[in-house]
């Protein structure tokens, strides 16, 4: 595998109150990929997330107020695009994503020319840490997305995602705010962009609790469904297929 050229790859880590895990996440990425910059987007945490990320060697983009996951990720994409990065790989700040797979995502982005590469826990059946409800939700969204994307997506809720500069440009301008992963796929599809999945291992959260509770799961499904259909219905000027 080729080592990323300086200024080519940026690792983006959106984080909100992740002081229990963020330091180790940053250190692990830096040990796995020495020389590759890590940008932690601090979504106005009320704990020591920003300070611990800086201490571990990350650059920090502190948001002036809480924007939610989509707003935080988009801020990172905007900065990466302005700084001229060719590839951005997003990992979660809770330690669930194994940095050992970052190079695999990067290589796939480079070799295939796809605009997005998703790290999928379902391609090698490594989904022991997914809850029953999440599993059901994922199966449901696979079925919903299949006719829209014209392609089967095994892990549509994965936040372990790499994008190239073309997708970065699109996402800098338009990115879903809440629960962005699934809607982002539809945004890409509307631009006739391609995505591919690669098998990745997911780990249990290193610290803290998931923000998606049982009650929120229902809201999540309704919200994302609505978001998907709104994105499908959105007017987009036609663009040549790649």
């Amino acid at each position: 595998m080729s080592v990323p050229e300086p200024g080519s790859l940026l690792i983006v880590v959106p984080a909100f109150n992740e002081e229990g895990a963020i330091g180790n996440v940053v250190r692990e990425v830096r040990e796995t990929l020495p020389g590759v910059p890590v940008l932690v987007i601090d979504d106005c945490s009320i704990d020591n997330t920003a300070a611990l990320a800086r201490e571990a060697g990350a650059q920090v983009l502190p948001l002036p107020h809480h924007l939610g996951l989509g707003g935080a990720v988009q801020a990172g994409y905007k900065l990466a695009f302005e700084l001229g990065y060719d590839y951005v790989i997003r990992i979660d700040g809770d330690g669930q994503h194994d940095p050992a797979y970052i190079m695999k995502i990067y290589e796939t982005l480079r070799v295939t020319g796809c605009q997005m590469v998703i790290g999928s826990r379902y391609l090698n059946n490594d989904h022991a840490h997914s809850s029953f409800i999440r599993g059901l939700g994922i199966r449901f969204f696979r079925l919903v997305l299949w006719p829209i994307l014209g392609q089967y997506v095994h892990d549509p809720t994965s936040g372990f995602v790499g994008v190239n500069r073309e997708a970065l440009q699109v996402f800098s301008k338009s990115f879903p705010l809440e629960y962005p992963e699934i809607e982002a796929l539809v945004v890409l599809q509307r631009k006739a962009f391609r995505f591919v999945e690669v098998p990745c291992r997911m780990r249990p959260r290193a610290a803290g609790k998931s923000s998606i509770t049982a009650l929120k799961s229902l809201y999540y499904i309704i919200h994302v469904l609505l978001g998907v259909f709104v994105n499908v219905l959105k007017y987009e000027p036609k663009r040549r297929k790649r």
């Binding site: 650059q59 983009l61 502190p62 948001l63 002036p64 707003g71 988009q74 905007k78 900065l79």
Partner: protein, 119 residues
């Protein structure tokens, strides 16, 4: 019927007074007060015109004028609420874009300062 009409007339007058007071105190911007003033004036006009109400009831196929009045009032306020949702969405988008811009500019500023200090 008269009781309901009088109540709605009173409500519309209170609403007009409240909106004008709020505009005067700058609690509502003039451009956002227009929808509420329009809704309150519509409410005032229809609540004082029984003939208009009877005609509306006939058009809508309703048996009683008060039902037509309530339907019209509901529609007017739905339109106002929809307009406000559009405005709130636009403001939220602008707010997010601004917050992201501030964060990115602060990042550039910090990077510049660090570069200057290391020279």
């Amino acid at each position: 019927m008269d009781g309901l009409m009088n109540f709605l007339t009173g409500l519309s007058l209170v609403l007009i007074a409240l909106v004008l007071f709020s505009v005067r105190r700058s609690h509502i911007r003039v451009e956002y007060s227009v929808s509420w003033l329009g809704a309150a004036l519509t409410l005032l006009v229809v609540s004082r015109s029984e003939a208009l109400m009877n005609r509306a009831a006939a058009i809508l196929g309703l048996t009683t004028a008060p039902l037509a009045l309530l339907t019209l009032v509901g529609c007017v306020f739905l339109i106002v609420l929809f307009r406000l949702s559009v405005l709130i969405s636009a403001l939220k988008d602008a707010n997010i874009a601004l917050a992201q811009r501030v964060a990115v500019l602060e990042f550039h500023l910090r990077s510049l300062n660090e570069k200057i200090q290391t020279r």
